[in-house]
Amino acid sequence: MTISLWTENANPQLLASCSQSLREECAYIAAHHNVVPDSIELFENDNFELVRMLVRFGELNTPDEKRLINPEPIVLIYTKGKAGQEAPRIFSERKDFPRNLPHLNPVEDIFPSSICLDRAGKQALYDAQGITGTIGRLASWFEDTEAGQSQHDGWEPTPRGMGIVSVSLNIGAMQRFVSKLTKTSGTTYGKCALLYDKKTQNFNDLIFLLTENNIKGLSRDKKRFSLAKDYYQPYEDMHCIRDIPVVCIWASDDDIVAFHQSTLINSPDTLRRYAQEIGVDERLKYFENSILPTAKVDIGTKSLILLILAQRRPKPLIRDIPSDACGHDRSIELIPLALKISSGRSPEIEKVHQCDMVAETTNSLLGQMSGITKYVDIATIVGCGAVGSAIASQLGRLGAKHITLVDSDMFLPHNVSRHLLGQEAIGYKKSRFLKLTLERQLPVKIASKICKFQELDKTEKKKIKNNGLIIDCTAELSFTQFAYGNNDLPKLLKTEVAYEGRLGILAVEGEGHNPCIQDIKACLYKSAVTNSVIEKWLASHEQLNSASTGQNCSSSTMIMPNYVVNAHVSCFMPKIHQVIAKQVESSGFGINILNEDKFPIGWEWFDIPEFQLFVSESSNGNWDVRIHPEVLAELDKLSSQYAPIEAGGFLYGTYDRVNRTICIVHQIVPETANHKTTSITLPAAGYTIAEVEWLRKTAGLLPLLGTWHSHVNQSSKPSHKDKQRMADAAAANVDTPIPFVVLITGNDGININVVLPKNW
């Protein structure tokens, strides 16, 4: 069962000698209720760290898919040193793991199956729920697969995009076109446009355009390559455009393939094998032998052809695929491939590249789509997604003289639905095109940086510091984590649009990053206790709200219309303007709530005071314990109230193990605590109504992070008894690996100890 691939290319590793980040990650994995105890093994090579484990899932009484075993051996692959930050790739470890299931990423034959857990992508899932949520989702993946319910709303195409080469086409039109012809297999010919950046002449980011007009012009079984030229006029200003031959080969209805094919199509051989699987091998041979010599078009040093393989599936594709085809027509799956053709008299296919397929910018697509920040990595004074571009534009119109835009992403067709830029920007880097657009429109100087903020060099970062503030419009955690406690960075503002667009959130840090974004976020979660919309949002956190933007389940974005983005940005702007203009010094968060129909309910601002910072030494580095001043005041009051007997209770908040920070925002004194003059016995946590309500309303996002108690008229130094409890906590938290705070109040102030799980 076990294959040797991993062990051949990696060396066994002991937990004690692996990186700290992986050791902590493993503590979470080991404690996970779906991971079989003692099943974890570690390996490493030059670039990666591997975790092998057994994942147990619910045992179905009546499974439809009987090829899974329980537990399943799984391998997680981390980029070295990135555990906790970058989502691992997830592979089965079984050579005989079925390769024709839905939700498998295409991989080369030598690799075992790679599992796709979320249409929003593994990083989005990992950012939202960490490795704990990822493994939980994996167990659900197995259960759903066994139950035959992993494709509940239609045929799920295998995700084939690689993120570099994209094909923009009218998916519905192409499906209808092919669907009419599938009595027998066949081939059509035509042309599409290839766009690439005029300035950089960069061939790494390519986008093929095949519109409805061009699809109409496809000729069946006649080697006629024509193109409706007028359609790419909007792109001519800024793009290099080439006519590229497009060939579509479809399989006959007699060859409906009712299972998934997760083989990576990345070479002439794998292409031929796939063609054989779907019954078009003869068509492909004809294409290779007879079409290539006439179809080849040289672009610089390259010759490219777009090949689309089409096959009918047993049922219509899932609803998320942005196609207006219905019923029988909708069951056509399209696989676009960019073929690099050799030069010379007998041209051959040299390379095959799977393409991201994205829907053409049509009215119906624009209606479906909303903001684009899901995968956009923006770290800047103004980011460049839907919110970032709108804020950039607003700031320009407010008279800002200098704006720096940082974003590494390319503008894709679906971005048009919610972005300031239009379809003329397709194929361009967002930050560069936004710079050009805004500079054309407004008297503003814009610096555009096509990279992640973290990748900027020192000089550039210094310039940004002098600009006064950073507005983080990214949907990712990485920039916030990078910015924590970084005194080289100015004050940080963070925007977020959440809960199906119903919540617009703007967080504003205090001076010196206090309160920091993490403090503010904890306070935002705490507001669920009194705000039912926040409560519902937190309760819905398990589901990432997204829609596909193409045929690949790996390409997705949030669902909301452009006016929702504008509604939130309009509410953010007065506060942003206040902060920039230094009219107020307030730090905190503002929420703009829309009702279910997206009508505004109102904007509300919550001031958050400076958190008190304590530094606790631990066995593997210092931890910052940040405590809300209201909590400290409550502890003080309770200690006095209970004196001469000891007071105590539980502490709640968030923690971030990347930055080694803990934020405490709440405390509860359990009614059943036994208070004495020199001791306090706290009951098992989680039973009183106050505790249950707290965890329910905050959806477990502000978990119990420790205990506190008072030493009456004595030093806050831990007693022998306290030290024993801390040792107990370190041992017990091997099962629930989180840092555990033991806070003691005494006549000399507060003493804070961070107890780490024994196996960290």
Binding site: H32, H33, N34, P37, R56, F57, G58, E59, L60, N61, T62, P63, N70, A139, E143, D144, A147, Q149, E646, G648, F650, K676, T678, S679, I680, T681, L682, A684, A685, G686, Y687, E691, V692, L695, G700, P703, L704, L705, G706, T707, H709, H711, V712, Q714, S719, K721, D722, R725, D728, A729, A732, N733, V734, D735, T736, I738, F740, V742, I744, V755
Partner: protein, 366 residues
């Protein structure tokens, strides 16, 4: 998430179904922790029950199904549930209000009561008195007496997903002769309510067979009266805590002989099948129930249904946790069908996800 939980209660039954916000408890065997008992050997399922029954500021159980009034099926009733008029119910009393009680005709009018059954019997009598008045239909007063002789009370539906069919008792089975001696009463095991529950959410149906302590004669009669299809189960609670007396009878030489029809009645597995033995750990010794011989019969039934890992589908909540500690056996119910929660066998009793605070801890200056 809809689910059915078999709580670890030693030799006794406590089964909770939670479906579509409805709660149905079959029997109760709730005991306080004894002083010499290890913390980890005792499972206070009352907390789970309260959590499931929480409605606003109150705790309300939709249905309590009392299969029969023996000690191991009624223990702790008074501690856990409110008795008396519902108007006087206060959640601050830390009890749960039962909206409706189901019993057999014998349970509604038993020949005798014990210390353990007295509270339940009294509560049933109170509700019985109200029958025929408008008050009888109020939550907290409702009582339903089930019998195969009463077509109105032998099957039905609860909510959108649950249907139930009564398999026993007949009027005759529910008519237990009074021995006239409270010290040695006649067994009421054969008056047990035997109910097959069907859960159907989407296309998949799953069946749960709960039969109290019904003995082999009842199962033989059930075999005669119902088809294989009507007797299919996905989960079977091994009757009488995995005792032999539901599967075998004693001949004149005091030897156990297989009651083939009874075994046949209990052999209709739907899917792979799971058997739950709500008992102490099954050992090959004389301390019965549970009986090692009965376990072998159930293992064979499971093996015949699906050979793979059939031994892992015989489950005992008393030893289901880590290191054979008590932990509820939980099956999730959804449109995927019935799914056994196979996640790691943590014995954590607290809903708080922090082991360091999952048991009482004493801090202090000295």
């Amino acid at each position: 998430m809809d689910k059915i939980s078999f709580f670890p209660v030693g030799n006794g039954d406590s089964v909770l179904m939670e479906v579509d916000e409805l709660t149905i408890m079959t029997d109760i065997h709730y005991r306080a922790k004894s002083e010499d008992e290890d913390e980890d050997d005792y499972y206070p399922f009352r907390d789970d029950l309260k959590k499931a029954c929480k409605k606003g500021n109150e705790y309300r159980l939709g249905y309590f199904v009392s299969t029969h009034p023996d000690k191991d099926h009624v223990l702790g009733f008074e501690t856990v549930f409110h008795t008396g008029e519902p108007d006087k119910y206060k959640s601050a009393d830390d009890t749960i209000l039962i909206e409706e009680i189901w019993v057999s005709p014998y349970g509604a009018d038993p020949n005798y009561s014990t210390n353990e059954s007295e509270a339940l019997t009294k509560e049933i009598k109170r509700r019985k008195k109200l029958q025929g008045t408008t008050k009888a239909n109020e939550a907290g007063n409702r009582l339903r007496i089930l019998s195969l002789g009463d077509s109105e009370n032998s099957d039905g539906t609860i909510g959108d997903y649950l249907t139930w069919v009564l398999l026993a008792p007949t009027d005759e089975e529910a008519d237990i002769e009074d021995s006239g001696d409270e010290e040695s009463p006649n067994s009421c095991n054969d008056s047990s309510l035997v109910i097959r529950w069907e859960y159907k959410n989407g296309s998949k149906a799953e069946y749960i067979l709960l039969g109290g302590d019904a003995g082999y004669e009842v199962w033989e009669r059930i075999r005669d009266d119902f088809s294989d299809e009507e007797l299919e189960w996905s989960v079977l609670l091994a009757p009488h805590h995995c005792s032999r007396c539901s599967l075998q009878y004693k001949n004149d030489d005091d030897e156990y002989i297989d009651a083939d029809d009874a075994i046949s009645a209990l052999s209709n597995v739907h899917g792979k099948g799971f058997v739950v033995s709500s008992s102490k750990k099954v050992k090959k010794d004389e301390d019965r129930p549970p009986a090692w011989e009965a376990k072998q019969k159930y293992l064979k039934i499971l093996k015949d249904a699906d050979e793979d890992n059939h031994k892992d589908r015989f489950l005992n909540p008393q030893i289901y946790g880590d290191k054979e500690k008590p932990r509820p056996v939980i099956f999730n119910l959804s449109n995927k069908g019935l799914v056994l929660d196979r996640s790691k066998k943590s014995n954590a009793k607290s809903s708080s996800y922090v082991r360091a605070a999952s048991t009482p801890a004493t801090y202090g200056s000295q």
